[in-house]
């Protein structure tokens, strides 16, 4: 992890309220592992927003690092107003990775909303390692869909669920996954998305290992402030920023 000053290459709207930002950083690109995130200081002089904002590294192409984000509040609004050539202060790469082992075989990857972003880098790496990858993506509607073609390019199967049924399965991505999981023999499952989605996946009690990337409000992003604690089994405390963000879904409480 390092503090880096980078220059924005591109910061474009790719769906309703969704942006894709990129910059060049050899260091980040070389050290990136799928699941890692960065802490962006959006405006050095600002006292509101005050804290850095955590965003997953979505994927990397050569030296170019991509981050996708959704407009939520003040910080992401300010970020969306930055244009090519402007500098941003980045701390990263932070956190652990989805991939600690090699999985030889077929893998399921499930994402919902902005939780989809970090999964693109994951799918790329899974394919590089020779796995078969089925990805399940959940969106609200047509206007909130993003990066689908990129997943289609990489993955063996890209299955879509939308709340309004405008594309793919009508309903939740977890239901879509459930309908398929009985037919397939996945070796491992990876997921990232809103807490209710992750909870639903946990409740499936899958017979294989399932790893989820979790979000908590973060101040330091490196394990010092203890703001982002997550309760684990046997009274163990984990920190989303430094022990995570990726956890074995059965080892942690998802509230």
């Amino acid at each position: 992890m390092k503090l880096l000053d980078v220059e924005i290459e591109e910061n474009v709207k790719i769906a309703n309220d969704i942006f894709l930002l990129s910059f060049e950083s050899e260091y980040l690109a070389e050290n990136f592992k799928p699941g890692n995130f960065v802490n962006i200081l959006i405006d050095k002089e600002s006292i509101y927003p005050l804290l850095r904002r955590p965003f997953s590294i979505s994927f990397v192409e050569g030296k170019r690092v991509y981050i996708g984000y959704k407009l939520v509040g003040k910080g992401t609004k300010l970020l969306s107003q930055k244009s090519k050539g402007e500098a941003i202060d980045i701390l990263g790469p932070l956190g652990n990775s989805f991939l600690t082992d090699t999985f030889d075989g077929k893998v399921a990857v499930i994402g919902g909303g902005v939780g989809i972003f970090p999964l693109l880098g994951l799918c790329k790496e899974l394919k590089n390692r020779g796995n078969k990858v089925d990805v399940f993506l959940g969106f609200r509607d047509l206007n909130s869909m993003f990066l689908v073609e990129r997943f289609e390019d990489i993955c063996d199967n890209t299955l879509i669920a939308t709340d309004d049924g405008c594309r793919g399965y009508k309903g939740s991505v977890v239901e879509l996954f459930k309908a398929n999981v009985s037919k397939e023999e996945y070796k491992v499952v990876f997921c990232c998305g809103p807490k209710p989605m992750l909870k639903a996946i946990k409740n499936l009690n899958l017979p294989v290992k399932c790893y989820a990337s979790l979000e908590e409000k973060m101040a330091c992003g490196i394990g010092a402030c203890l703001c982002c604690s997550i309760k684990g089994k046997d009274d163990k405390m984990y920190h989303a920023c430094s022990d995570g963000p990726v956890f074995d879904i059965m080892e942690v409480e998802i509230e």
Binding site: K44, L50, L51, C225, C227
Partner: protein
């Protein structure tokens, strides 16, 4: 320029201290900066037994500050001594252990255990995020006196008493600490605060209220340092919302001998270096020959 300061006979090579709870046990930040840059490092609050702290969410951001309710999550004193202290001792900086008890006896016990192992002990009588001990003691001058006195009885290292701003008159606490033999006081801990999500009408912190830190509390902290300086002779360590060297200078002028930096570490891990350089340049620019001359140099 000599930035050295002295607190109860302990020499700090510079007056910038990492504030408790914002720097862990130094391990994480040591990967980003040379933590020997600090005059001293104040550890995450330590209790006798391991604590898990409060439920999530524990953090929210407000205008110019953050509210936290971590609730003293820590591995307990034994794990601190075995797993963290040896690492911290590897750096050229002083170590201050921040201790938290739920009874007077616990404060005494922690002091007994730690007194010969660290350079100083900061007795936290001001944590707003626990139901017993902490701020509950720290709001009552009699309790501050009683606990400080008991701790001093078993201490061989200097004792700093950390005060809460959540009272009508902080100087009474400062006086009580001094009367009981405290070697220094530090102020301020976080300010009791609350924020509400107007869409869900839920508090943004699970515990409903938490402690506010960051730039929002700086003017309150400066005022309290100023008031306490007029009432006590022991050194004051000032903190609350210091983001840069200018903020730090204000605290010295108001009467602080040293300062702690907390929330800014999360935003700018290099703040310690920038603040030190800034203080040095300021002293030179203003013709001071040491930082001591700046302390309580207010022009009224």
């Amino acid at each position: 320029m000599n930035l050295e300061v002295e607190i109860a006979g302990i020499k700090l090579k510079n007056p910038v201290i990492a504030a408790s709870g914002t720097f862990g046990f130094g391990r994480e930040y040591s990967k980003l900066i040379d933590i020997s840059e600090f005059g001293a490092i104040c550890t995450k609050g330590i209790t006798l037994k391991k604590r898990n702290g409060n439920p999530q969410p524990r953090l929210c951001e407000v205008y110019a500050g953050i509210i936290n309710s971590v609730g003293l999550e820590n591995p307990g004193v034994e794990a601190f001594i075995n797993d963290e202290l040896p690492f911290l001792k590897g750096f050229d900086t002083k170590i201050i252990a921040n201790i938290n008890g739920f009874t007077k006896e616990e404060f005494v016990e922690l002091t007994r255990i730690l007194t010969s192992l660290v350079d100083m002990i900061e007795v936290n009588l001001s944590c707003p995020n626990v139901k017993e001990g902490g701020m509950v003691f720290g709001k009552d001058p009699k309790k501050v006196y009683e606990i400080t006195k008991s701790v001093k009885n078993v201490a061989s290292c200097p004792i700093i008493v950390k005060l809460t701003p959540n009272v009508t008159d902080i100087t009474q606490l400062a006086i009580a600490a001094e009367d009981a033999g405290a070697d220094a006081i530090s102020l301020i801990n976080t300010v009791s605060a609350m924020a509400i999500d107007i869409e869900t009408r839920k508090p943004l912190i699970k515990m409903v209220t938490g402690g506010l830190s960051g730039p929002a509390i700086k003017p309150i902290a400066v005022r309290m340092v100023y008031e306490c300086f007029k009432k006590v002779r022991i050194p004051i360590i000032g903190m609350g919302g210091i983001m840069n060297y200018k903020d730090a200078i204000e605290f010295f002028i108001a009467g602080a001998t040293a300062i702690q930096i907390g929330t800014v570490n999360f935003i700018n891990p290099k703040a310690v270096c920038e603040i030190k350089e800034g203080i040095e340049a300021y002293l030179e620019r203003k013709g001071f020959s040491s930082i001591k001359e700046l302390v309580s140099s207010i022009n009224i």
